[in-house]
Symmetry: C2
Amino acid sequence: MSGSYCKSLYSFSGDQHQQGLTFEVGEIIRIVHPLPGGWWEGELDGVRGWFPSSYVQVLEKTASMTSLPVEDVGEPLPQHWKCYMSPQGRRYYVNTSSNGKETDIQCLQKVFTPLDFLHILLCYSLNLKWIQLRLFINCVTFPLPMSTPEQQLLKPDEWSYCDYFWTDKKDPQGTSCISGFEVLLQKQLKGKHMQKEMAEFIRERIKIEEEYAKNLAKLSQIPLAGQEEGTLGEAWAQLKKSLADEAEVHLKFSSKLQSEVEKPLLTFRENFKKDMKRFNHHIAELRKQLVGRHSAVEKARKALADRQKDLDVKTQQLEIKLSNKMEEDIKKAQRKSTQAGDDLMRCVDLYNQSQSKWFEEMVTTSLELERLEVERVEMIRQHLCQYTTLRHETDMFNQSTMEPVDQLLQSVDPARDRELWVQEQKTGDIRPVDIEI
Amino acid sequence: MSGSYCKSLYSFSGDQHQQGLTFEVGEIIRIVHPLPGGWWEGELDGVRGWFPSSYVQVLEKTASMTSLPVEDVGEPLPQHWKCYMSPQGRRYYVNTSSNGKETDIQCLQKVFTPLDFLHILLCYSLNLKWIQLRLFINCVTFPLPMSTPEQQLLKPDEWSYCDYFWTDKKDPQGTSCISGFEVLLQKQLKGKHMQKEMAEFIRERIKIEEEYAKNLAKLSQIPLAGQEEGTLGEAWAQLKKSLADEAEVHLKFSSKLQSEVEKPLLTFRENFKKDMKRFNHHIAELRKQLVGRHSAVEKARKALADRQKDLDVKTQQLEIKLSNKMEEDIKKAQRKSTQAGDDLMRCVDLYNQSQSKWFEEMVTTSLELERLEVERVEMIRQHLCQYTTLRHETDMFNQSTMEPVDQLLQSVDPARDRELWVQEQKTGDIRPVDIEI
């Protein structure tokens, strides 16, 4: 066991003993000579000394980490922080003084970039394995990043909503934080808004087309050059008529835009608001429950710590003067400590149940939101495709309005026009002759 | 000679002779017995009688026409009118009383439909061949329709202006008549006007296109749904951009319409007005000259008739009492008559020269007008073809504005969009875990 570490369960003052080691609760001590008699020699912060082995918890080999010399850490750590290297070569930063309390946020922000806005807690289990590191972000429990084993994504390679929105996030203003689920909901709301704006855009286009059609139709009715005659007159009349045809084409375009693009875009899925409200309410409810459970856990954890402190005091008193009464007191304190441990266990159970429920709901709902978003994108894509199809059709129909004009222009024949006009307008077909005497 | 006809040169009163025939100047008499002694028997209006052969002019065999019995004419002819059948079977209507004066218009209108508004004159030559029938329409001399030989068109099968605008025509209001040349000029003026109106029409179209383009460009700038993200966002942005492209296409259309259709149509051939004025002035001048010449001919004709009447009187007087003085008088009258005949001949010559000059100018100018009209029609046709070409181009360019939109819509991928969004918006990729005790 020499060379391994232990963690102090209680504080111990070495001043009262020859070569005694002094430490507070929760400090990590390197075991130098673990003598079988119950007194071990240990080293803490470069100082060696003796202490009762019952005051410490041996850290298991599986979790054997190496405390790095300060100069290897790379940058000076804040007070009470230590850097450990895991057997896999990962670095863990541990606040050796926090003792179950929330750590200083600034410190961790420095260390655990890019995880900002964390409330980190060194959580130690009943049997005080310190490696049970957990992050608590707004009462949700996460494994410390880089801890073993790595989490597999629920839906690898899919970039699914259900894998990426568990933690909270600063809002765009950076003043408060919003939950991952709210981010998803906002995406939905924004999606709906975008769709509505697209419909508005199409509506504007419809208006432009209608006005264009109106102007073309009006122009085609103006009797300009209506008296042009012959084949040229026919071609010209057809050219004017083609404007009415064009107008018709654009009117058809605008009416199809309305029925086949604008209207479908406006009918965003029914019950959108109701659904969003329901989703939001459900998840928020579960989060609220989780917060309650979390505070119960905290309370139970504190109660346990108090009981253990009480037990500690009593045990120290026992060392000084032994009496039946004291032994009874210690037993009582041990019972209460055990009871407090049980309480904590129950609270943790309830908390985990809550978190589990929320977890499931989050997965279900985010997958639903994901499905709805896929639907939305597909639906918009489809109707925008319809828009381009209609535009293509319009151009083709427009081209066809020119065909009869082209044909008539091809058959414009000045000689034929002259013939027609002369036949109608001629003043006679006899030619002057001389007077003969 | 029996069975042929003669025409009276002077009036003769049969009352003073046994079985004498009475006739006025210019009557057609059937020769019954042409006795060599100078007294012939003839028949006029069913009455037979004798008259001096020197009072008549025998009508030549070549012009032998048959006077049709009244019942064959089809409809009762007005007083003094007779219907003759030419050897080719054509009917000629002759006013036997007009004697060189203008005939009654109403009468001829009845007969010579569709030749309305004619001034017809039976013109007889110095040797008084009555078949020299001519029409005078506003001082221009025409052969009587249906007279032999038929005129060949100057440009057969071409319906050339130079063949059909020699006579005058009632104007559309029917109140006055306009010359054939004026009809041609009006055609030119109307043609110019039509061309101008076409340019105006194109201008209106340009305005419509410009406004349409302006509206499309404006709409493409409106930031609607500008926050749509991912591949859908790209497709949407391209769709909006395509409106700017469309606007560009329509702007280009309108600017090309202006430079390649409107402007050329507006630049009707230079000097148009000047040319028209020159043509008109020239022809009008020649017509005026013709009128002068014509009245000179009429005057000379009347002088000749007077001289002949004088000669006639003197000759009659000679029959009654012969004297040297009378013979001298007759010789003098015959000289004067011959002089008057020479005068008439000179006037007719001058007239014919004028008419000839006018004729040439009419042919030249009407062919020029015809060429200009062919040019106009060709030029308009060409620019209207340019219009349809531009319209086709516009439709094609418009189609091409849709291509990038179509491509981006094809690559819209909800999964890819989710990936992009999640990468940017994810709140972390660790999943909650249970608190472990």
